[in-house]
Amino acid sequence: MNEAHVRIMNTSRESDIRRHPLRVNHPSILTTVDLHKSFYKGKIEIPVLRGVDLSLPEKKIISIVGQSGSGKSTLLHLLGTLDEPDRGEIWFRDKRIDNAPRRERDKLRNQKIGMIFQFYHLLPELTTLENVLVPRMIEQGVFGYFRKRSKFIARAKEILELVGLSHRIQHRPNQLSGGEMQRTAIARALISCPMLLLADEPTGNLDRKNGDEVMKTLIRLNREEGITVVIVTHDESVACRADRIVRLEEGKVVEIEPGELAETD
């Protein structure tokens, strides 16, 4: 963190809170204010996000759609604090997270936000059960983990049961089908009981049947556990199952009704 960052944090905290645009009106879990992000190809600046203002209401499913290259994944990475915006703010509840210390963001990703990726991103050396337990291992030290080990394993098995994988817990990722791997990834995202699930093309690599399974799982989690789910997708049949849909166009978000999808695309 550079000096300027520190200064901003110290001087503008109060005004930040005052300026919080949706603070009073909507109970939103994640809010972005005027997000900008550019990539560089050599010296050429390629702006991807040009002022994204987005508010994610709690306990809803939100889809983000857009053409490929429109910045959907980039936005998701920013929301998940994997990347830092060039400009703008991201608020998790009433806490600003885009410029928080790295350690705090690591903790946030580890405990409050679950992430699911198109290519599952499981660790190939570990079994299903171990993959699911990784966030807990990261959270706890060696001794802490060993002390609560049986509790964690019981919880992991419970979640694997929930996603329908209890018969696969000792298998390696290369022994699983795509759908099973994605459900393992969902289980891993759930082990820390997050409030927010960010899914980047969760069905992008799956056939319709498996994709459907995954979507059903996500929806069930939203309904039963009250977890806010953000799904980035270009698949309209997936997008339209969300409570709310936004489209990324030219680096900005456009709110659309579920019915509009067919017309605009």
Binding site: L82, R102, R109, M115, L126, I138, V142
Partner: protein, 536 residues
């Protein structure tokens, strides 16, 4: 926790990394073997070098002498005080030794050392290297009847009597030959019957035997009495009889008279002796002073000195100090004042040799007295420092081998980190801090280092344990003897395993393994999570 788990899994699934650790293993094993052998060699060598050398020595330069040793000893006691344990005076001079082997005369150059049989053994480690157990307990320059090492064969009084009997028999045969020669010679006719050849007398071995024979002749006075009463000069007991008497005792370095060889039939290492304890030799040595004369002394070999240092064993011969002083004229007839070549000093254990030497140098300044005052390490400095240099260079070279192994680990790790880029991204997206990701690879490096070092230690120690068997095996396979005891005077390769050396080598090797994994680990830690996730 994930760090340990993942390091463990990487260790089990990446065999190429284990291959890179083989060089660590070999390096560690080699270091342990080399250090153990060198330590064993150096310790053995120190013991042997120090064996005959006292802690500190004050010596007259060259063949010069120190006059009035009593005064010097008094002064040394004053200077060293409580540090002094014991001191002794010695006379040293090059000499020639003559002896016969199967009737052939031989001459050998030796360094004759006159020692005090009481104090010399207290100042140096002289006794343990003697080949006679009686002399090991208490040194005397007397031939022993028993107690000689079995490897010497028949020796001592038994050998001496055998040789004496043989000599007598040989003389007898010679006489007979002469007689037969005379008989067969063309003798003038007229002399026949004029000359009566004497009858060969009965072989009488000793005077006492003569008396025994004579005792049967009634009335005859014993020969002994006749000798004692009527003959001028020495009494009969003083007449030298090789069966009963010995000359001045001398202790020879074992390699002066022995040759090591390999039995062509059995292939065993044998030792043949040209002289054994009990044989007589002649020593020619110069008298002291500016105008030396050669004096000759008959000596009887009473023991061998075997320090296993070839340099010593092949040149040193020891004689009683007083005898040598008399022979060389080192006792002033008027005053009885003696002189010696050197005074050897033993210090109390724990005394700093260099400090004691410096004190003595201050008391006897070398540029005034000309004395050479040295510790035993000074005396052998060229050899000791050469061996130490050798050890240092070997260690540096071998650590370089481990360093090479370190670069192997570095390269392998770098590749593994690149291969695991996506995993690193995953871990970071799950909230693993950079430090945690870094420590996965550091732990990995440490585990590899530990495995390599552990196996290396076990291999190295096993090698040291069975080094002589391995040397034999290698000799058998290559057809050339690796360790030839005839050269080294060690029966087997000496080894000493210093635990601290092993610990040091282990720590060094593990450190190198960890250091080699730092760079790849840093790269892993610095990876941007999004870029890492997108890496294909």
């Amino acid at each position: 926790m994930y760090k340990l788990l993942l390091s463990w899994r990487y260790l089990r699934t990446r065999f190429i990394a284990l291959a890179s650790v083989v060089s660590v293993t070999l390096g560690v094993a080699t270091l342990i073997v080399v250090n153990s052998v060198m330590a064993g060699f150096i310790t053995e060598m120190h013991a042997r070098l120090h064996g005959i050398l006292s802690d500190v020595e004050i010596a007259a330069p060259g063949l010069g002498v120190i006059y009035h040793p009593e005064y010097h000893i008094h002064e040394i006691k004053q200077v060293l005080g409580d540090d002094l344990e014991q001191l002794t005076a010695v006379v040293r001079v090059p000499a020639l030794m003559h002896f016969e082997v199967n009737g052939f005369p031989m001459t050998q150059q030796i360094l004759l050392i006159g020692i005090d049989d009481q104090s010399f053994g207290q100042v140096t480690d002289f006794h343990p290297f003697l080949m006679n157990t009686n002399h090991r307990k208490k040194l005397s320059f007397e031939l022993q009847a028993d107690g000689y090492d079995e490897s010497l064969g028949v020796c001592g009084w038994e050998h001496r009597r055998m040789i004496a009997a043989w000599n007598e028999e040989a003389n007898l045969q010679y006489e007979r030959l002469v007689q037969m020669n005379r008989q067969s010679a063309p003798v003038p006719q007229d002399l026949t019957g004029v000359i009566e050849l004497p009858k060969l007398p009965q072989v009488i071995k000793t005077i006492d035997e003569f008396d025994e024979i004579n005792a049967s002749t009634a009335g005859a006075p014993p020969m002994r009495d006749a000798f004692d009463r009527h003959l001028p000069g020495p009494t009969i007991d003083q007449i030298f009889d090789a069966r009963r008497d010995q000359h001045t005792g001398i202790v020879l370095g074992i390699a002066i008279s022995s040759r090591k060889y390999k039995d062509p039939e059995t292939g065993e290492n044998m030792e043949s002796f040209m002289i054994r304890p009990g044989d007589d030799v002649y020593i020619t040595l110069p008298t002291a002073g500016a105008n030396p004369n050669a004096v000759r002394e008959n000596c009887t070999v009473v023991d061998f000195y075997s320090s296993k240092m070839h340099e010593y064993d092949s040149t040193f011969a020891f004689m009683p100090l007083s005898k040598m002083q008399r022979l060389r004229g080192m006792i002033q007839p008027e005053t009885g004042m003696t002189s010696v070549s050197a005074i050897q000093i033993k210090l109390k254990p724990g005394t700093k040799l260099d400090v004691a030497r410096d004190k003595l140098q201050a008391r006897f300044p070398p540029f005034e007295t000309g004395y050479v005052i040295q510790t035993w390490q000074d005396t052998q400095r060229p050899l000791l420092s050469a061996v130490n240099l050798e050890l240092t260079i070997l260690n540096i070279l071998l650590f370089l081998i481990i360093a090479v192994a370190g670069f192997g680990i570095l390269a392998t790790f770098y590749m593994i980190v690149v291969e695991k880029t996506k995993d690193i991204g995953i871990l970071k997206s799950l909230g693993a801090p950079s430090g945690g990701v870094m420590s996965i690879f550091l732990t990995y490096g440490l585990s590899l280092g530990t495995v390599g070092t552990g196996v290396g230690i076990v291999l190295g120690l096993l090698f040291v344990l069975y080094i002589n068997d391995i040397a034999t095996l290698l000799g058998y396979l290559s057809g050339r003897e690796i360790f030839d005891p005839t050269i080294y005077y060690f029966d087997s390769i000496p080894t000493i395993v210093n635990p601290w050396m092993v610990v040091g080598v282990a720590i060094g090797a593990m450190l190198i393994a960890v250091l080699a994994s730092v760079l790849p680990a840093l790269r892993a830690a610095r990876m941007h999570p999004v870029k890492a996730l997108r890496y294909e």
